[in-house]
Amino acid sequence: MPSLKDLRLRISSVKSTRKITSAMKMVAASKLRRAQTAAESARPFAERMERMLGTLAGSLAGQSGSPPMLAGNGSDAVHLIVMVSADRGLCGGFNSSIVRSVRHLAGTLLAEGRTVRIMPVGRKGREQIKRDYGGQLIEGFEQLGRKGVAFSEADAVARRIANMFAAGEFDVCTVVYNRFKSAISQEVTRQQLIPFPASPQTGAADAAGKAVYEFEPGEERILAHLLPRNLAIQMFRALLESQASEQGARMTAMDNATRNAGDMLGRLTLQYNRSRQAQITKELIEIISGAEAL
């Protein structure tokens, strides 16, 4: 049975915890709004880019000599997994679900006898995966998008990936990130970046001969520009989506924590009042029985 003083201390500590979690919730909520707008306004560009690239890929399909970034370099021995997680914790299952997905993917690939490299973006993901796949980890990025994701940051990541690909350090690149669905739900998404996966619907449209495009200056020249751009754009999108998801996950987690603290506070207060009353009764009995004995 805890003493009254112990109970008072616990109540005040739970109270301050609740204050902190509710403040974190507010902060996450306001950041979420901004991140969500950013993520949603970046979608049109990424979608149109994909559509354009799909058209180009469709018109080049079957031709030899298309750029390796589009068609692959004919091998799939080395996989690069770009893992987009958060720099900070306290956001529910956000980081763990990314890590779980990466671990699963890496496990499958390794079992198939492929080589796996993992490029972590964000501190938390790296820390969690280090134990199991420390040997596969390569240098990654941290502290991206502290003041909203800038395109230049995504560009830096993309350039690094492109350089590694050009140097033949990997054959297939997949990015794993949380796609933002709503404040309470995020979806772990695996997107293959290299080689560019030609989407079936654009292929079908071309087969119907609906759109015959002219290219200026030439398919190859445009592709040479468009592919690295696309890489940066898709990376940008992944970062934005992940950022919005992180804030959403944190908001939900902190909302739960605040509610739990409230419940706990209720229980503790009840217990405190009961034992206070019991003590008063006990003291009264002592006084009365003392007076009667005289």
């Binding site: 950013a38 970046a42 560009f45 149109r48 751009r229």
Partner: protein
Amino acid sequence: MAEKILFELVSPARLLVSSPVEMVVVPGAEGDFGALPRHTPMITSVRPGVLDVHDGGKVSSRIFVSGGFAEVTEDRVTVLAEEAIPLAELSRETATARLLAAKQALADAKGDVDRAAAEWQFEVATAMDAAAQ
């Protein structure tokens, strides 16, 4: 001229313009071209320069784009620009400052990748400076 073409200007951060207009003059990599309704479908890269939007029989807006890509179909022009600033908002000072910074970066650049990036930045800044004058 009742017929209009849907003009969309998108930057990585957001959708800037999406409205039907009479004609768009795009600075293509191999020369400027005007896109009118029922233009041949084509895809082209865009060089840094000024994009003119014609509507209501006159130039309704002029926008600086720092390069990108354009997709033209019969009823739609989509310009994917890395950066797009309406000419009215472009000040001469910022353009000049950027040109100087780009010159410096080009002088400092080491390695092929950096040099290529710096050269591109320089090209963009030059076009921007010219547009701002």
